[in-house]
């Protein structure tokens, strides 16, 4: 295994410092543990917030350059880097409108319900071997469990706004996300079979080192299925049916304004980050790099891989038209799910027959 430990050394040094401090104070270990997790959590939140702001800017720049435009150029000086910050500040100061006939409590809670689970999924992603909030043994399952909660929030938002367009958006997203969760999980299942563990660190370990290949090469079908289902899971073109702008205005978040709308938008990009990060970890070897790249810290390696997937997702978005609802369901149930089962069958056969 290559030694891509950069940030981890700093973190472990900090951890040992805290533990020594706590034991010097004569307090039980649980205090040290709590403080460590809180520090990590806050650092993670900052990282997510910054990445998401950056992602929104990146999306606008990528789309602009694909469309022979410039994109944001003025705010902040260099290539409009502060555009998203300015947008967020603007959203912060906007009047928060709750429609008079809305189900007020559900309407208020929905943006939180959508945003929190998307943050929770980061808990189990290994940035480096020990740079992880909690290396749970149900890692990948936890991520999918949390990402399915987002459906609930979208239905809540769509239903509570008491608007026909949001209702349509909510119903569409319920149908879509529930049916695309199945191929998403099934595509990962073949990896879990090979690795024999749900821990993400074990998956990284199974791909790095001599004679081991990234799962994208050994199980390409699973990767494609994951990417397609993942795109649908985060509601991006060509599967952005729940918020199909030209059909149902803005879908489930039509009636939201101000920071609540901002939460929906942020969670959308957070989900994209999650999907890409999981893809990078599970299929592209995570934080591990080939030996000749071992000078790079693991975090950087992971981010490079993540942004590669993010770029692919953006590329999809600015190239493809949108599928129609019924075709989307057909595609999910009649093509993706059988293919996912086929993939599991092939991998199972390979494991039994070739012991590979």
């Amino acid at each position: 295994m290559s030694s891509n430990y950069g940030l981890e050394k700093v973190w472990l040094w900090g951890v040992s410092l805290i533990e020594r401090l706590i034991s010097w104070l004569g307090l039980p270990y649980i205090f040290a543990y709590t403080i460590e997790k809180i520090i990590f959590g806050v650092a993670l939140l900052v990282f997510i917030a910054v990445s998401v702001l950056y992602l929104i800017w990146l999306e606008r720049k990528v789309s602009a350059h694909m469309q022979s435009r410039m994109g944001p150029m003025h705010v902040g000086g260099w290539r409009g880097w502060a555009q998203t910050i300015a947008d967020m500040v603007k959203l912060l100061f906007k009047e928060d409108i709750i429609p008079s006939k809305a189900d007020k409590w559900v309407h208020r809670i929905a943006p939180i319900v959508v945003f929190v689970p998307s943050l929770m999924a980061f808990l189990v992603i290994p940035f480096e071997k020990n740079l992880i909030v909690q290396d749970l043994n149900i890692g990948i399952l936890l991520i999918f469990a949390f990402s399915s909660i987002a459906v609930l929030a979208i239905i809540m938002g769509g239903w509570s706004s008491n608007n026909k367009y949001t209702l349509l958006g909510g119903i569409r997203s319920a149908a879509q996300m529930v049916s695309y969760e199945i191929p998403l999980v099934l595509s990962i299942l073949s990896i879990v079979m090979v690795v024999g563990s749900l821990k993400l660190n074990d998956m990284v370990a199974a791909q790095s080192g001599d004679g081991k290949f990234w799962f994208v090469f050994t199980q390409p079908l699973a990767f494609i299925l994951y990417l397609v289902a993942g795109t649908a899971e985060v509601n991006r073109v060509p599967f952005d049916i729940p918020e199909a702008e030209s059909e149902i205005v803005s879908g489930y978040n039509t009636e939201y304004s101000g920071l609540k709308y901002g939460f929906y938008m942020l969670s959308e990009f957070t989900n994209m980050l999650i999907i890409s990060m999981v893809a990078a970890t599970v299929f592209l070897g995570g934080w591990s790099a080939p030996a000749w790249l071992s000078f790079l810290p693991g975090v950087v390696v992971l981010l490079i891989k993540t942004y590669f997937i993010v770029f692919i997702l953006m590329w999809f978005r600015w190239t493809f038209p949108r599928l129609r609802v019924d075709r989307l369901m057909d595609f999910g149930w009649k093509i993706l799910i059988p293919l996912a089962f086929l993939n599991i069958f092939i991998i199972g056969l390979r494991m039994v027959v070739f012991k590979w």
């Binding site: 026909k164 059909e247 129609r324």
Partner: protein
């Protein structure tokens, strides 16, 4: 939700469940302006659709009666603001027919040049908006980028970028700038190269095909029955183009095909416009070769007072048959000025074809008809 016109009593679907009434428009991202569609939905399927127009009504036909004949050309820019040159053309021809004036040959060529360039603009915008309606955002920007080139050409001859007001009774307002021919040739080369990109990006796209093929079929009978015109009927297999079949100006001097397709679905309507665009480029090239120096405007009296009577002129605008019916009582203003607006008449089939399709297809079908609200409501 206003209660007038549209019957809002609950319509039950076939299983006896209540349906939902969805008010699509007048403020909606893809109703191409301020069209309102009253949709009765059973889930995502349309049970009943009623287009409601009039949100952009400016009373232009009445206003025309208070304007002189020349001023009416200026106002015709505002009918269908996407293809002002074609509107100019129709009105100018109608007044000339009434007066019995004929424009000099150079003016005729310039007019055809402008009309065809504007057809390119219209189809480019159609390309962009149609793809946008289906969710392909990039195509919109491409469409606008190519349009920009033509708009610059128009700007160089007329000084305006949207309402050109370039045609005059008996000719055109100004002669072409010296570098116009060269620039147009550059544009044609550019456009031909770009058309390949469009085929790659949109025409051959699997999802685009899936969204458009077999969607919103217009039968030949419906096309004739609803008196549709333009690219829509040609996509349904009726090879009818006024430029060829009831030729006007000097269109008979040019060699071009009238493309026709068979299926009459959204994809054919899209493809037909792309084919037509290529034919337009061919016409433009021929015009550029034939252009010779000469007069650009015929001798016309300052105050136009046509004899008592009426005139009717049919032209092929990019959207269909644009006709002008003009009645004169011998004064300086028209007694009646009627416009047969292609968008208005083409829109009428919507009520029939929307029944039974999905919400997403409503947008696709509406986009494929290619309407401009400025022309519908006038």
């Amino acid at each position: 939700m206003t209660e007038n016109q549209i019957n809002t009593t609950k319509i039950l679907d076939k299983d006896g469940f209540e349906t939902m009434y969805l008010n699509m428009g007048p403020q909606h991202p893809s109703t191409h302006g301020v069209l309102r569609l009253g949709l009765v939905l059973d889930g995502e399927v349309i049970v009943k659709a009623e287009p409601d127009i009039g949100y952009l009504h400016r009373g232009m036909e009445k206003l025309a009666e208070k304007r002189t004949y020349q001023a009416n050309i200026a106002m015709s820019d505002r009918y269908d603001y996407v293809c002002s040159m074609n509107n100019n053309f129709a009105v100018a021809l109608a007044i000339e027919k009434h007066l019995g004036v004929e424009a000099p040959i150079r003016a005729q060529y310039i007019r055809i040049l402008m009309a065809e360039l504007n057809r390119v603009v219209n189809h480019m915008l159609f390309f962009g908006f149609f793809a946008m309606d289906l969710g392909a955002t990039t195509a919109l920007v491409f469409g606008f980028r190519e349009r920009e080139q033509v708009i610059e050409l128009f700007e160089s001859v007329s000084g305006a970028r949207l309402t050109y007001n370039y045609f005059r009774v008996g000719g055109v307002a100004r002669d072409l700038p010296s570098d116009f021919v060269e620039k147009t040739k550059v544009f044609i080369r550019f456009m031909r190269a770009k058309l390949k990109d469009y085929d790659n990006l949109v025409t051959d796209n699997v999802i685009f095909r899936d969204r458009t093929e077999g969607v919103g079929k217009f039968s030949k009978e419906d096309c004739v029955g609803y008196s549709l015109s333009g690219p829509i009927i040609r996509a349904s297999g009726i090879k009818y183009d006024i430029r060829k079949d009831d030729t006007y100006s000097v269109y008979n001097e040019f060699d071009f095909n009238v493309p026709a397709l068979e299926n009459g679905d959204c994809f054919d309507r899209y493809l037909l416009r792309m084919l037509e665009l290529r034919e337009s480029l061919k016409i433009i090239e021929q015009v550029l070769e034939k252009l010779e120096p000469g007069e650009i405007i015929a001798k016309v009296p300052k105050v136009i007072k046509p004899p008592v009577g009426e005139a009717y002129v049919r032209t092929e605008s990019p959207k269909g048959e644009l006709s002008v019916y003009l009645v004169s009582d011998g004064s300086a203003n028209p007694y009646r000025f009627h416009l047969r607006a292609p968008s208005f008449i083409n829109l009428q089939i919507l009520q029939k074809v929307l029944v039974g399709v999905k919400v997403a297809d409503v947008i696709a079908i509406l986009g494929s008809i290619d309407i401009t609200l400025g022309e519908i409501d006038r």
